[in-house]
Amino acid sequence: MMTVNSRVRRIIRITVIVIVGLILAFPLIYLVFGSLMSDSQLTSFPPAFIPTSIHLGNYSQAWNYMKGRSVLNSVIFTAVTVGLQWMLCISGGFVLAKLRFRSSNAVTALLAISLFIPAITTLVPTFIVTEKLHMVNTYEGLILPIVAQTGFGTLLFRQYLVSLPGELIDAARVDGSGWFHILRRLIIPLAVPATGAYVAISVLTAWNLYLWPLVVATSPNVQVMTETLAPLASSEFGQIPENVAFAATALTTLPMVVAFLLAQRAFVRGLSGSGVE
């Protein structure tokens, strides 16, 4: 039975939890409010917290500033990168988990090493390879080197598929199914939870990627959103009003926030690396 004392403590604890949570999420909550304010309200001092009038026009101005093109490019980059990489990772992970061949462990180790190499180490030479392939300022150059970072995904799928009972696959093989058929009909449907965790994390990473696009996609027709957004953070940048900068930031951030709210389980699994369960 709960004593009065412990009930009071529980209420205090829950209150603290809510307040701390609101503090942590505050910059994002303020982002939404600020993006709807007039410029004079957003830059007033002391700071105002609730918009006195709603300015949705900030968003259309932000869209114009981002040229729409960079938003579109981010969508293309994210979708194609994650789609291609998913195909490579699930088929590679399947091979490493369920097929026996001599260099299987060596390949797994080779993929694992890449997780511990900082992006900067390979930045210059990857740029050189991309340049030699005449892919600077093209979608291919933007996308392929990121698709190639298959280490995390392949190991994630391998780990997930290793624990799958082998009888299912044996049965399919006795039926004479080829490996590709087994992958398509058996493995992909069974690996949906792993795919969920993988997609959540990969979409997030691609959408937010900054360093590689900054180096390889400098012309406006391939630039992605992080590149058009970043200059707004510089204090000398006075080209557009603060409230429009907020709207631009919200425009790039809110899709991921919504995705997170809709697929929190997949994100949580991916972030904690336990998509393997």
Binding site: R10, V16, I17, V20, G21, L24, A25, P27, L28, G34, T43, P47, M87, C89, S91, G92, V95, A97, L99, R100, F101, L115, F116, I117, P118, A119, I120, T122, V124, T126, V129, T130, L144, A148, Q149, T150, F152, L161, V162, S163, G178, F180, I201, Y210, L211, T226, A230, S234, S235, E242, F246, T252, F260, L261, Q264, G270, L271, S272, G273, S274
Partner: protein, 318 residues
């Protein structure tokens, strides 16, 4: 994240062979073996080809380039160890290492401590706990670019939210991002805000493995919060801590470029010039690709040394 997978693989192995990998691929007749190899080649090859072209070759190329001088025009000139000698004599290098280390220590340590404390705080059941925890996790989806815009507004001298709050308690805040004493810490605070969700998540997973009745029994025995932390919580999260540290180090290494490039460009007066930023600057501003490659090798060696020490600590901890 990756480490989580490996840790899991290890724990699975530790549980004994009965639960270990036992795929359909294991016991099988010789007639299938050659078909297996062909299938393996077909399904794995595309993955390994792009991986080799854009990851393996660049790593090897970085090593090779570090012995050359090259400005992208013409062919790289072989200069032997000249870049390495230059690196040893370059006063910017020890400074960049020091800046990176300060950034890492003042970022990773608070992330780990706050991550544990906040995970302990939200490790409770009530009706809307799922919704409330979302508030703790959602900063994880914010990009460096977006967080830079939000925080430069919070940090704005005299006008921003932070100075507003400080003025309430009678403190005049510094110009956070343009003061040599505060710029690096200001960047750390942003990176901590972005890294906390993952730390809380990982710690929460470890805490939820400690049975609630154990904690309650300790409380009935009169164990105070500190004793509970030391005797029950800490043993339960000790192994997870090393994982949280590794994940945080990888996150802070990346943010030590993105946030610096967006918000301070290494300034004021090199106060935020981390090693990664210096490498980027050397490569793409000074167009000294050979020297940048040499610095990349140094970065990789430092990174490997730190992670190696942690792996060692993890080995000793169990």
């Amino acid at each position: 994240m990756a480490v989580a997978i490996r840790a899991k693989a290890r724990s699975r192995r530790a549980r004994g062979p009965a639960e270990g990998p036992r795929g359909g691929g294991q016991p099988r007749g010789a007639s299938w073996a050659s078909r297996d190899r062909a299938a393996a080649a077909g399904l794995l090859a595309p993955n390994l080809i792009v991986y080799t072209v854009f990851i393996v070759i660049p790593v090897l190329l970085a090593l090779g380039l570090s012995f050359t001088s090259w400005n992208l025009v013409g062919a790289p000139q072989w200069v032997g160890l000249a870049n390495y000698r230059a690196m040893v004599n370059d006063p910017a290098v020890p400074q960049a290492i020091e800046t990176t280390m300060i950034f890492l220590v003042f970022g990773v340590v608070p992330t780990v401590i706050l991550g544990l404390l906040l995970a302990m705080l939200v490790n409770v059941q009530f009706r809307f706990i799922g919704v409330v925890r979302t508030l703790y996790f959602v900063p994880a989806v914010v990009s460096f670019a977006a967080s830079a815009i939000l925080w430069q507004w919070i940090y704005r001298p005299g006008q921003g939210l932070l100075d507003f709050a400080l003025k309430k308690v009678g403190i005049d805040g510094p110009a956070w991002l343009s003061n040599t004493h505060t710029a690096l810490i200001a960047l750390d605070i942003i990176a901590i805000w972005l890294s906390l969700p993952t730390a809380i998540l990982l710690y929460l997973a470890a805490l939820q493995r400690i049975p609630q009745h154990v904690i309650e029994a300790a409380m009935l025995d009169g164990a105070g919060p500190l004793t509970r932390l030391r005797k029950i919580i800490w043993p339960g999260v000790r192994n997870m801590t090393i994982l949280v540290v590794i994940v945080a180090i990888i996150a802070f290494t990346n943010s030590s470029f993105d946030l610096v490039n967006i918000l301070t460009q290494g300034g004021p007066v090199d106060a935020t010039s981390t090693l990664i930023y210096y490498i980027y600057y050397t490569a793409f501003n000074n167009i000294q690709l050979g020297y940048a490659a040499t610095l990349s090798v140094l970065q990789l060696a430092l990174f490997a040394a730190i992670l190696g020490l942690l792996a060692l600590a993890r080995g000793l901890a169990r």
